[in-house]
């Protein structure tokens, strides 16, 4: 269904401006009788979640410094990552991760060094006003720079999404997450302990801090000290990028993320380091920054009459909502100056794919206003790409620049960001409906730019390392198809993963997720130096009969080699806006993509002890599919071979392969 990428541009007269009926836009109703209470849009300003309190900053209190050191000791202890005696999450497969901070890093990650320390609690929060006049209870991440027994500070926003982690390349971020979700919470599933784990999506994180789905922080009993776990992010991604963090608990991710467990993680160039960061700074300083750099996460939700969140129990296709939230508030407005802005878009919905456009009209994109896409999940694009309407699927990020100046000069004071992709089924979107869009944000353009002049510009080359040289390859190493090992007939070797649906279950190469069962035969080599390193090509094949799957792979960012039709094999090369690095790939029905990367740990942040598992997952990011075990394990190894699957406390079962049905 590649025609969906086409943009219709007609010279139609502007449609009459109907102010949309608030949240129940014409698009994307869940299609049945469940409807949220209706409210008018554009009543609240767009929220920008603040960063958490850095515990080891220069003017931190004694309490905060002590906390930072507590966190360090917890993470650096020799047996810090051993699962507790009863891993509450799923089973008793104990991951063989001895430490949260590997021995070689323990000295470097002390709070006195160039490291950021934070403490974030997961907690139930009642009283959030998302629908005007109604009170919603959520589960959120909250900044908590104090002792665990203390209450949340009064100035911490009681809203979701959670604090935005502002990180820079090369400066590790160490966060102690505290699970204060209780079995007795309103939103807790009765009788169950609300365990949780946190995944830094797109982050280049060692395995024990990546949020493997069965490696959870147990829920709180309500008495004494809640369980905690320290997550270590070295921040050695190749490029600055827009990332995010969210819950990743096995079988409960869809619900937990829906209830509010998500937040931004923005990775910028290091402010003073030389080398590549100097180049990144030089480019990013030209782009709009500071107040003019706005992250936006789109989430659709369904509410009950009393304002509580409605998460359907028996929906396995994908959860859709009819109320459109941006940064946790329903269809907000944003006052903007007449100048360029950088927006970082994140589709944080469970199952909704969006078609985003700027428009003068809240419900039509017939004359969409063009914008410039400058980045994807993993990096800035080699060159800017002009777009009019952009499709974005779950967990994908788009970095864009939009200039309000020209419109203000014409006397236009309001511009809308609209979603024009209709979706009524969790399995996938329908079609672009340019006359039936749902407004997401209203931009109110003021008269003057503070400071008088807009100094920002978009460089014509955004990412020189990703621009193709005369041989067609990138300067940045590790993404060259030439370096991929060849098979006997001379073709580049590939790993093939087929996504299918069998008996109502989603499978990857015929199997469902089995905790710590390696699904990459032979393991995947983790390179410690670029010299001699070999990239891998993964072929992701969607043959699930029309279902749409955005496939996300943990740990690394990938280059797209080509798309293809799963049946005919017809190839399509990536377009200009797909020419960068991505970690999430939207596979439409019968679509295949070939992607390439080198799995690496160049700065030696991973544990190298023999027998230590280095397991990551890759999965569909329709979170309801992910919960139904549409996920697989990718086992990395450094030396000769990967370790075998770990023993369970109970006898191992047969493999989880689904047999072919006989016809």
């Amino acid at each position: 269904m590649l025609t969906r990428r086409e943009v219709l541009k007609t010279a139609a007269v502007g449609a009459p401006i109907l102010l949309g009926s608030g949240n129940t836009g014409l698009l994307g109703q869940s299609g049945d009788s469940g409807q949220s209470p209706r409210r008018s849009p554009f009543r609240t300003p767009l929220r920008r979640p603040a960063p958490p309190t850095k515990l080891n900053r220069w003017n931190a209190s004694d309490t905060e410094w002590k906390l930072a050191w507590d966190i360090y000791y917890e993470a650096a202890a020799p047996d810090s990552a051993r699962a507790p005696g009863q891993c509450h999450c799923i089973n008793d497969a104990v991951p063989v991760w001895p430490r949260l901070i590997p021995a070689q890093d323990a000295e470097k990650l002390k709070p006195t060094q160039d490291v950021d320390y934070y403490q974030i609690v997961m907690e139930e929060m009642p009283g959030v006003e998302i629908l005007e006049g109604l009170s919603t209870t959520v589960w959120g991440y909250f900044d908590h720079p104090y002792d665990l027994e203390a209450e949340l500070a009064p100035w911490v926003a009681r809203e979701v999404p959670g604090p935005t982690i502002e990180a820079v390349r090369g400066r590790p971020v160490i966060i102690r997450f505290v699970n204060r979700l209780k079995a007795g919470d309103t939103l807790a599933r009765p009788g169950e302990s609300p365990d949780t784990c946190i995944h830094g999506h797109g982050c280049h994180t060692p395995p024990q801090s990546d949020g493997y789905p069965t490696d959870c922080i147990p829920g709180w009993s309500g008495y004494g000290r809640p369980h905690t776990r320290v997550y270590v992010h070295p921040n050695d991604n190749d490029f600055p990028s827009t990332l995010w963090y969210h819950d990743h608990t096995n079988h409960h991710t869809a619900r937990n993320v829906y209830l509010g467990l998500a937040g931004f993680f923005i990775l910028r160039p290091h402010p003073t380091a030389e080398g590549r960061d100097a180049l990144f700074r030089q480019i990013e300083d030209q782009l709009p920054g500071g107040n003019y750099d706005v992250p936006m996460v789109f989430q659709d939700r369904l509410f009950n009459e009393d304002g509580s969140l409605n998460f359907p129990d028996f929906n396995h296709d994908g959860t859709l909502g009819d109320t459109f939230l941006v940064n946790g508030r329903m269809q907000p407005f944003l006052t903007v100056e007449p100048r360029q802005y950088r927006f970082r878009w994140l589709d944080g919905s469970n199952a909704r794919v969006y078609g985003l456009a700027f428009s003068q009209s809240p419900d039509s994109a017939r004359n969409a206003l063009p914008f410039v896409q400058i980045g994807t999940e993993g990096a800035l694009l080699p060159r800017p790409a002009v777009r009019t309407i952009a499709e974005i699927s779950m967990a994908e990020r788009l970095d864009v620049v939009f200039d309000f100046a020209g419109y203000r000069q014409q006397g236009i004071t309001q511009v809308y960001l609209v979603n024009c992709l209709e979706q009524t089924d969790g399995r996938g979107p329908d079609d672009f409906e340019l006359d039936e869009c749902t407004p997401l944000v209203r931009f109110d353009i003021t008269d003057t730019i503070s400071g008088g002049v807009d100094h920002s510009s978009i460089p014509s080359i955004l990412n020189p390392e990703l621009v193709r040289d005369e041989t067609g390859e990138w300067m940045y190493p590790g993404f060259s198809e030439r370096d991929v090992p060849r098979d006997a007939s001379g073709r580049p070797k590939e790993r093939v993963f087929e996504f299918d649906r069998s008996h109502g279950m989603w499978t990857i190469n015929g199997a469902i997720f089995g905790p710590h069962r390696n699904d990459t035969p032979g393991g995947v080599k983790l390179w410690k130096t670029m010299e001699g390193s070999r990239p891998e090509i993964w072929r992701l094949v969607n043959k699930s009969g029309g279902w749409v799957h955005p496939i996300h792979i943990h740990l690394e960012q990938f280059k797209i080699l080509n798309w293809a039709d799963s049946d005919t094999g017809e190839i399509r090369l990536p377009e200009a806006h797909e020419a960068g690095l991505k970690d999430t790939f939207l596979l439409h029905g019968d679509e295949t993509v070939r992607v390439l990367t080198t799995f690496k740990d160049l700065n030696d942040h991973f544990d190298n002890q023999p027998g230590v598992l280095q397991d990551y997952v890759f999965h569909c990011h329709n979170i309801d599919h992910e919960d139904m075990d549409m996920m697989a394990t990718n086992r990395l190894f450094t030396d000769d071979a990967p370790p075998p699957d770990p023993p369970r406390c109970y006898e191992p079962t047969v493999t989880d392969a689904v047999p072919e049905s006989e016809e």
Binding site: S33, H316, D629
Partner: protein
């Protein structure tokens, strides 16, 4: 625990699924499936009449679901491809549940081929697989079983029976906690998920009794 929700919108009448449904009926069926779960509402689970493999006549909601911790899957006895695997896996779950099965937790397997799977046929199937009390195989009117599948979100509008759902729906009706996972997930995982719903320490529950 959760406050009861009033039925604000009339419950949609389940479409008749006798002859193969029309497009309108299929869309209606999907609508019913995607209805936000209001499992605590009266009438959410159809109280249809079913027959167990030992010949008893039961009402689905009143006798099998109400107040109970259950695991529900779908099968048919002449299924050669997938069901043997699913049943074998569930037998391991039966083993792990030990004395919980029948006392606190019940397993229900409903046939999607009621024409052939009479109570006698199901009885033989259960005996052959050494199914213990607490795990019941059930049959009934085709339309009723389809309605149950729709309510549980596992109805597939594929007339090919061999492609019926492999999803195991499980929950605690008393607390309104429902979830699902593939029926071929690891038996320890399924058994733990069920015993967690009993509000007891799950690891202790699964140790030998």
């Amino acid at each position: 625990m959760a406050s009861s929700r009033r039925a604000l919108f009339g419950l949609l009448a389940a479409p008749v699924v006798g002859a193969w449904p029309t497009m309108a009926e299929r869309r209606q069926a999907r609508i019913t499936t995607r209805r936000p779960g209001r499992s605590r509402e009266a009438g959410f689970f159809p109280n249809v009449t079913l027959h167990t493999h030992d010949g008893k006549r039961v009402r689905f909601y009143d006798d099998l679901i109400k107040g109970k911790v259950v695991a529900i899957n779908f099968m048919f006895t002449s299924c050669a491809s997938f069901c043997p695997r699913a049943t074998a896996n569930l037998l391991k779950v039966q083993a792990r549940l030990g004395t919980h099965l029948g006392r606190d937790v019940s397993m229900l397997s409903l046939t999607v081929d009621p024409a052939r799977d009479t109570p006698e046929v199901l009885g033989k199937y259960a005996a052959a697989h050494r199914v213990k009390p607490g795990w019941q195989f059930l049959t009934g009117a085709s339309a009723d079983i389809d309605r149950i599948r729709q309510r549980l979100g596992v109805f597939d509008d594929d007339p090919d029976k061999t492609q019926h759902t492999g999803i195991l729906t499980y929950g605690n009706e008393a607390t309104g906690t429902w979830a699902a996972m593939p029926v071929i997930a690891e038996p320890a995982v399924i058994a733990r998920a069920l015993t967690r719903l009993l509000s007891v320490d799950p690891a202790a529950a699964l140790r030998p009794q």
